[in-house]
Symmetry: C2
Subunit: 272 residues, 2 copies
């Protein structure tokens, strides 16, 4: 490859690192690829680091030593996160979203990559210092949210199945009472899907009474897992009843959903 | 903000564009943010474009005119895609993956963001010129694959539900025979989840006889949708029977899975 100029190398380095968030790349890889000295790459990286810092959108982390290198840690500035959640709350507070049974239609939001990506960055920022090993969710609607969070943290995802339909070798099943249906349900997880004693971050789309989250905590105990955090997108706050789990983080709160007047109110948690 | 140097601006531009793949950003946004003339931004973009071209990992697309701008189109070089699929095939050809009933354990792969991301880029590259409006899948295991494909194409995702559990207003349900279970099953999609007459790309993790894919095609017909492509990660090729659908793209083929000898063979499609 023809020798690149510094600015070109800086762009190429930014691209390589952003394509593999959280992955440590040794400096020698860049030195070989660009045919330059490692010291030149170090200088390039300092400049890239400074430039990325200006945006507040994620930063470079350098680890020195023989097994060291550099990685891109994705992030979202607090102000941008706040604005994004405000807009999302407004979008969810639309009477057209009221479904029969007093539910809120959120599926379009939960399956839209452009909305999911910032949500994953927000959850990742909130839980990174809890050092989770894996992101756990329960099918179906929470899966994309858990996936983008896992990717922002550089972790794998594990999906608990509803019912008993696990066909993947021996599985652990537990019964739980979902707050939204008030019925006894079953959730299962294959033994091979999760090693024992992992640090688990639980991510889900909605919490009503917390019955599902409590079920997940109980199931995780069967895997000797340590639940280091629980994050939900929307928390039902229409009743004052305490939830069945504590210490969770919700980004939005559903304050009102009146099927007769059509009034719906979803608000960001920190503006409450 | 202090005036930035060209190299710094180029890095910042790369970051902004890569954070929002497929989204058109007007040049004026950069000009305002960096306090420079639009012509300077144009020159920066030319240099960024050239630098990104060298990696083959996605490129910039510029659209001129008043409503124009620039966007980052993610991509993966053919050689890298081939290597990635070879390694993945090898990893899947492990006798430890054989499950009771003659199934192949793929869940860890299907829920790992680091593996999903390149797969999404490969599917996106294969189907971009079919101009889909939306990526459709059926729960559960195909959801992450469909999501990363949707993101790489800049599209929303729609998830068909198994059974009749749709609680989102009026829904369309159809019966189908899944090749793997040979039982009659039901799939449903809420009317509000998919507008009529969309161009649909179907993505799923596994195809045995093609019964599920045929079911999805039939369900899509109820929404007057035009199925412009079908992509599956692994296709079962252990029998010579023709599939129930035609014109699909599979990335990997399962050639052998012998529960007695423990021999499993998964191969990339293009090395066949």
């Amino acid at each position: 490859m023809e020798k690149m100029k510094r600015a070109e190398r800086m762009v190429a380095i930014t691209q390589v690192l952003m394509l593999k968030p959280n992955v440590l790349t040794p400096l020698t890889l860049f030195a070989e690829r660009f045919g330059t000295a490692k010291s030149t790459i170090s200088e390039d990286l300092m400049a890239v680091k400074g430039s990325l810092l200006l945006s507040g959108q994620g930063h470079l982390e350098t680890i020195s030593g023989a097994s060291g290198g550099v990685r891109y840690i994705p992030g979202i500035p607090t102000e941008e996160a706040t604005q994004f959640l405000s807009k999302l709350a407004e979008r969810l507070s639309d009477k057209e979203r009221i479904l029969a049974g007093g539910f809120l239609y959120m599926t379009d939001i939960l399956f839209d990559p452009a909305i999911l990506r910032p949500l994953g960055l927000i959850f990742a920022g909130a839980f990174r210092d809890k050092l989770p090993d894996v992101v756990v969710t329960i099918e179906t609607k929470g899966i994309p949210l858990a996936l983008v969070t896992a990717e922002a943290l550089g972790l794998p995802m594990v999906v608990i199945r509803s019912g008993n339909k696990v066909t993947e070798g021996s599985a652990v099943s537990i019964n739980y009472v979902s707050g939204s249906s008030r019925r006894i349900q079953t959730m299962s997880l294959s033994r091979r899907a999760l090693e024992p004693q992992r640090r688990v971050l639980v991510i889900d789309d909605f919490m009503k009474a917390g019955g599902t989250a409590l079920g997940i905590k109980n199931l995780m105990a069967e895997f000797e897992a340590n639940v280091v955090g629980i994050g939900v997108l929307v928390e039902d706050r229409m009743t004052a009843e305490p939830k069945l789990v504590e210490g969770y983080l919700s980004l939005l709160q559903l304050k009102e959903l009146d099927m007769f007047t059509g009034k719906t109110s979803v608000v960001p948690v920190n503006t409450d």
